[in-house]
Subunit: 365 residues, 2 copies
DNA sequence: TTGAAAGCGCTAACAG
DNA sequence: CTGTTAGCGCTTTCAA
């Protein structure tokens, strides 16, 4: 509509200043909403800006202020609703405080995470929320802290770092759910996870993921309480794609002393496990019991509905963003530190095993 | 480790230049990998940079070059795996080409989308991928095009705009799946969607979403083919939260001439619908048939597995990013334009209705 | 190849 | 309140 027909060059404060017949500084003040500006000048500047459809260059703004109003989020896999929900919690909170979110996916690849941190730092984000792929290799996270840039961890702890972390206590909930399984007569409990490791699992091995390590700890504690030996041979890591997950499921179910219950480490992996169980013609929970982490809505729709460990993922995302923004604003961490507890939701997929003390070597009916 | 103990100020090219004993310009050239630099200078600069652990300020870089290596993505709801997957396709492609992604959630709110576009433009992203909340109100998208910034639409068309759009032909697939339902003896087919409208649905009404409009068109065509009257009373929009979805489901199932089949507009809404059906004590497909859009993995795990319309969401995300990057690079759109077709995956949730010509007024068994 | 100097668009410091 | 003058950290002329 306006008479301006020229192409290319963007409108700057200088243009607006000229049109409003004030100095660049005054125009900038009116536009940027800072400093002292008379009503007269302000209205003339705003009118000129409107007329020219001026838009501030946030990059230039950020350069001077040192604030980009952007927070970086690094997760393992957006496709996983677990992170999808957490991300929603983060973006909701961020938006409310005027922050934008730059999202980077790492595929749980440490190298990708290290690069992501670097990129985000280079882009001068105001803070970082990371769901660390490794709880052991934390140099890059340490560097974030050293640089003075705010950092909050999500979902997983990082060994030896003093950093706000929004995560549930996995040891507790894992102990509780293992107890549940044990009480139901299961001793051969398989744990399947996509966690990548150099070598197959053996008892006492150091794991990259605090999540998984804690869950295994919890399981072992539950076994110890009953003075039972923890079946380390049923801990299966490196369950990569759908096919490998199915293969592993078949393995633990068809071995000489097979698993009578399976715990799925996350909701994505759970899908393939359940499918594999169905393919074997086994019934849940009559033939195999099943328990999974994350309470996705669909777990209520299967027959039987699945017993799950519900985690307050959205709230963790929310809290992570809140904590980060507090840090950015130079505020101390809110006290008491927010606590997140997972809960065991008992639905129909864990069945009672009559012959609890079944001797080794029997097969699934 | 290094001797540098001072705080605060970040290392800049100037610092590196001084340390390497070259001019700022030469240091910048070596660091930025442009212009002409002798091997000697380059190595000295790189060494100095390493020593000082210099990191470029991408903000400053972007200011000069006018390129931020960032693309903006605007979607309705990340929490919905539909967009989760699409986003994955986008980020995967973006990363491969050295782009980062700024993600904004709109909650399918037009106002939020308009603001998001503005914010992203102000941040000087190199391009935008938008899943437009409205196919009618497209001023803000038009403005993106006017500004000369590359734009690609995802999932939904925008009325009257000439812009690359990665979406499936909803009319076709909807016609096909409605035929399937009709052939199975269903005439009372309900369509439930979260699409917000001012007034309840009436035939011929203009809808904000091309997706939904196209689906209804397809349904109507299928009815016309058989010279049947399309049951507009069973089109239910504005299905907001879980409770309202359940209420609507009960309504169409308990009304005098009830629906014998339900089509769920997306995977999120489907969960509540199926739950509501189960709560009513009705069986799928014996009492009600069910069909949903999006082929999520869990739809294979329900009893019976659900009949769905599968959409190549990941690939659409991939293609959207690819197309956008081509535009950014000043290349013409790739020809032929990528086509995406949805497919009807017939599983067990659509059953045959014996008495196809049931007179109105009968109730569900 | 090199270096000095002039910006990018904006905010900040400092006189009036 | 207002305008002038410096920068922010980098890229880009333009001569040398």
């Amino acid at each position: 509509m306006s008479s301006n027909g020229s192409r290319r060059r963007e409108i700057t404060v200088a243009d607006v200043a000229k049109a409003a017949q004030v100095s660049k500084a005054q125009a900038a003040r009116a536009l940027g909403n800072y400093g002292a500006v008379s009503d007269d000048v302000r209205s003339r500047v705003l009118a000129a800006a409107e007329e020219l459809s001026y838009r501030p260059n946030e990059l230039a703004r950020s350069m001077n202020t040192g604030k980009s109003n952007t927070i970086g989020v690094i997760v393992g896999d957006i496709e996983n609703p677990h992170f999808g929900l957490a991300t929603r919690g983060i973006t909701d909170t961020a938006k409310k405080s005027g922050f934008n979110v730059i999202l980077i996916n790492t595929d749980e690849e440490l190298a990708a995470e290290i690069e992501a941190v670097q990129v985000l730092l280079d882009k001068r984000v105001d803070g970082l929320i990371v769901a660390p792929a490794s709880s052991v290799e934390t140099h890059h996270l340490q560097r974030v802290q050293d640089s003075g840039r705010p950092l909050v961890l999500l979902d997983r702890h990082a060994g030896g770092m003093e950093v706000e972390t929004m995560a549930v206590d996995m040891v507790d909930i894992s102990r509780e759910s293992t107890r549940h399984l044990l009480q139901s007569g299961h001793q051969r409990i398989a744990f399947i996870s996509t966690l990548k490791t150099e070598t197959p699992y053996r008892a006492g091995m150091v794991l990259d993921s605090s999540q998984i390590a804690d869950r295994l700890d919890g399981m072992q504690q539950a076994y110890q309480e009953r003075e039972l030996v923890f079946p380390a041979d049923l801990v299966r890591l490196n369950a990569g794609d759908a096919e490998s997950i199915r293969r592993i499921t078949r393995e633990v179910l068809l071995m000489p002393d097979p698993a009578t219950a399976i715990v799925a480490s996350d909701g994505l992996i759970a899908l393939s496990i359940v499918e594999a169980i169905q393919e074997l013609g086994l019934a849940i929970p009559a033939d195999v019991s099943f328990l999974m982490y994350d309470d996705f809505a669909w777990t209520r729709l299967t027959t039987p509905p699945l017993t799950v460990v519900a985690q307050p993922v959205y709230n963790m995302g929310l809290a992570a963003a809140k904590a980060l923004i507090r840090q950015i604003d130079g505020l101390p961490p809110s006290t008491p530190a927010p606590q997140f507890t997972a809960t065991l939701v008992r639905r129909g997929s864990v069945g009672t095993r009559k012959c609890a003390e079944t001797p080794a070597g029997t097969t699934v009916p």
